[in-house]
Amino acid sequence: MMKNREEKTIFEISSEGRKGFRFPKSDVQSAEIPDELLRENLPMPELSEIDVVRHYTHLSSLNYSVDAGFYPLGSCTMKYNPKICEKAARFSGFSQLHPLQPVETVQGALLILYEMQEMLQEISGFRACSLTPAAGAHGEFSGVKMIAAYHQQRKNSHRKTMLIPDSAHGTNPASSVMCGFRVQPVNTNERGNIDLSSLAAFCNDELAGIMITNPNTLGLFDENLVEAIDMVHQAGGLVYGDGANMNALMGIAKPAELGFDVMHFNLHKTFATPHGGGGPGAGAVCCTERLRDYLPGPIAGVIEPASDEMPPLYGWKTPERSIGQIGSFWGHFDVIVKAYIYCLMLGRDGLKRVAEFATLNANYLMHALKADYPLPYDRICMHEFVLDVKWPDAPDIRALDVAKRLMDYDFHPPTNYFPLIVHEALMIEPTETESKQTLDQFIDAMRKIAKEAHEQPDLLHDAPVNTPFGRMDEVKAAKDLKIAE
């Protein structure tokens, strides 16, 4: 009999009259509050500090994490999060700054923002950068909106079509629609590249632009990339780069040189800031000269140049035709500090090695696994690759079953059922921070699972069994819809 791992909720362990925190007695007189403004009751739990600490410590033990093991989640870049980044971001001179403080009192913070912008520009080849987006999708929204603003400014509002390859992240079409565009999918060809004849059909004067993820979500560097970008530019469109997969490109190629006009970076992927169980991340957006005036603001800039005696004075600048403000304040500063330290520590050569070893690790895994798993696009991949779990001699086994069984071997499953063009996709991204030994253990587990799939398929259907919880009744969750207690 397995141990029950259910954890009572904070409401269930609440006990009347307990306190977990005390405030000092008031040193001023109590002021009157009109009765009609008072709430009737406050149904909050009542717990001691140790109740709270134990409760959340128990909960933490139910999570898998990068600190605990290999997390090959494709397109998510679950690399190791260096501890020094956490420590430095908590320095009082960073964590305890009010966003509206006079700029003279936050020169250190502004220096970090300014230099981070410069570093991202250097890595990508772009000419301008805004760090205000709170996440990848937020950066993407900003970049696409910049394209909309650019066409509007040129009285080209009829340019309403945004092309999106069928391999793209789901955020791409959603962001485009939020910016008023009509989404037109573009096909991927049998080598995993953009199909140029499918593209050509849409290169007309309604074309606003294209959103390209490169390397794409199959983990491939698109061999038609430069030509596709050229075609879109020729037709008067702009090219958006989804930078989710930048971990494969740092020091390898500069997106701006490849022809991209605007692109977002996921600092929580490429620059090793933690994912936090879903966030917060940060999604810097960078662009070429012709789009710089449209960036979301404000942006850290030099407002008084350095002199012989004084360093430059940094302040906030909002671009002339900015798409506007996109968040309460100036972006996820705390996350940016962590990414900044990471860049400092890696430096020029380190950043290139990141891309090299991320790519080496992915190819090593792909090469080792392709004998046992169908590989729909068999060529050298970048930082990730996609398997298609379709065995003619084990037709009942789906990608989901392999994913679930991996948990029994103490690995986090890869991304599954994405990209949509591979039906039983397992998308594997090992990242550069994993050692050969870890990869070998993973290969070993995957080979065992392939064998089990053919010989004892129920092991996969019933998986996971070695985890604190088993498969979930998702229909019940959606039907009962108990989302608060």
Binding site: F11, P45, L97, V226, S328, S435
Partner: protein, 454 residues
């Protein structure tokens, strides 16, 4: 090599197994012309060097811990109990991803479920999501919800001039590309004119949603119960943006009839961090839940009969609905939602009442004595929570410069966001402002420091 574990021998072994000779061979798909560009950055640093450099940079900043802080305007300096940082620093929480695999993510999932429950209880609503980026984007997402609720047939989003100007700006940025949508914000004339009555006159049959802030940007408190009825009588949705600390004491939006509640969750244990990352609160009536964007966690059972939690209603999200999704949102503020849940659990019923009460009482004490200083006048004529507006005899920037010499971070200069409010300061007071520090502020404002430098 920094954070890359491979030895040279292992690298070579791996290359050999792939069947290539060098690392460069991995990148042949990239046109030669663009391959391996020069990156003009410095060389890498060790942890000791980077740590020293960051320390030096941090010292160039003025931490609010080293001054007495009276600045608010959407970000508030509250005490953060020590247990919070200790718990959220657990790698099991902060190095996990979005809980796509519920079997090994119950920690994050239950944490979010509890967060949703706490926010629903605090706001008096039935449901809450797992969070948005911040207060401003939560307001914008509420506007998008309203647009979809009426299938684009109602075009007006009416916004109170008492909403934080940044939030109003973000609503404009988000909503202006929706066909025909118009974000209407009456011009700020005077504080007296920022009332529910004045806003009520502008609601019409084309209005999809009315948005107010509670307490509003100027600290003002109104009972919106009647106003909510007016909004509903015109068939529109009523949305309130709240300060969660104030709800420790004040009547809930749910009790007043709000359909949607948004707000900035930063006061719930999240450090100021120059403005982010914060936490976008989002709660709603249950019948709107399918229109709420972002992640939502629901209770269920696993195949062993254990009570458990999963991401639910995912069919509405961007990765499935793509261009038909109502929002592109992909992440939530997981770790900050967890922070808020721990904060609310620790403070509990009494602690939350206490902190709200302390903020309220100290702010009223401060307002009372500032109002007595010649040349200074508190303009608020209605009840306020922990923020209030003061007319000053000189430009606020000059006063603040002077205060800073005395270790005081003065109130927010309202002219920076509302140009007509020259010489007007917005002062925020929290539980961290002692009576002594408030008295000091008043002493310096009244010029009783002439012997020191000016």
């Amino acid at each position: 090599m920094m954070f890359i574990p491979h030895s040279d021998a292992e690298r070579d072994e791996m290359l050999a197994s792939i069947g290539i000779k060098s690392m460069d061979d991995l990148f042949e798909a990239i046109p030669k012309k663009y391959r391996f560009p020069k990156i003009n950055l410095h060389e890498g640093m060790t942890e000791i060097e980077a740590s020293a450099q960051l320390k030096e940079i941090a010292e160039a900043d003025l931490s609010v811990e080293d001054v007495s802080c009276f600045m608010g305007a959407g970000a508030y300096h509250h005490y953060i109990p020590a247990a919070i940082d200790n718990l959220i620093s657990r790698g099991e929480f902060y190095t996990a991803y979005t809980p796509y695999q519920p079997e090994i993510s119950q920690g994050t999932l239950q944490g979010i479920f509890e967060y949703q429950s706490l926010i629903a209880r605090l706001t008096g609503m039935e449901a809450a999501n797992a969070s948005h980026y911040d207060g401003a984007t939560a307001c914008a997402e509420a506007g998008i919800l309203a647009y979809h609720q009426y299938r684009g047939k109602r075009k007006k989003i009416l916004v109170s001039p008492g909403l934080h100007p940044h939030y109003a700006a973000v609503m404009r940025t988000y909503l202006e590309n929706f066909e025909g949508v118009h974000v209407e914000i009456p011009e700020f004339k005077s504080l007296d004119s920022v009332t529910p009555q004045n806003l009520a006159d502008l609601i019409d049959e084309d209005t999809a949603m009315v948005m107010v802030q509670y307490p509003d940007f100027f600290g003002q408190l109104f009972d919106y119960s009647e106003f909510a009825e007016t909004v509903h009588s015109k068939g529109a949705l009523f949305c309130m943006s709240v300060n969660p600390i104030a709800l420790g004491l004040l009547k809930t939006p749910g009790a007043m009839g709000a359909d949607i509640v948004v707000g900035e969750g930063q006061p719930l244990g999240i450090p100021l961090s120059l403005g982010g990352p914060y936490l976008g609160l989002f709660a709603a009536k249950k019948d709107l839940i399918r229109k709420v964007s972002g992640r939502i966690v629901g209770e269920t059972v696993d195949n062993r009969g254990q009570k458990a939690y999963v991401l639910t209603l995912t069919a509405r999200e961007q990765h499935i609905r793509r261009e038909k999704a109502t929002s592109n949102i992909c992440s939530n503020q997981g770790l900050n939602a967890l922070t808020a849940a721990i904060y609310l659990s620790l403070l509990g019923k009494e602690g939350l009442q206490d902190v709200a009460r302390l903020c309220y009482d100290k702010a009223h004490y401060a307002a009372e004595i500032i109002n007595k200083i010649p040349g200074f006048q508190v303009i608020n004529s209605t009840p306020f929570f922990h923020e209030f507006v003061v007319a000053c005899p000189e430009p606020v920037s000059e006063i603040n410069e002077h205060l800073l010499h005395h270790g005081i971070l003065g109130g927010f200069d309202l002219s920076r966001m509302i140009p007509s409010l020259q010489n007007v300061m917005l002062i925020a007071v929290t539980e961290l402002n002692s009576k002594e520090s408030i008295d000091d502020l008043c002493r310096i404002l009244s010029g009783e420091d002439n012997d020191e430098e000016s």
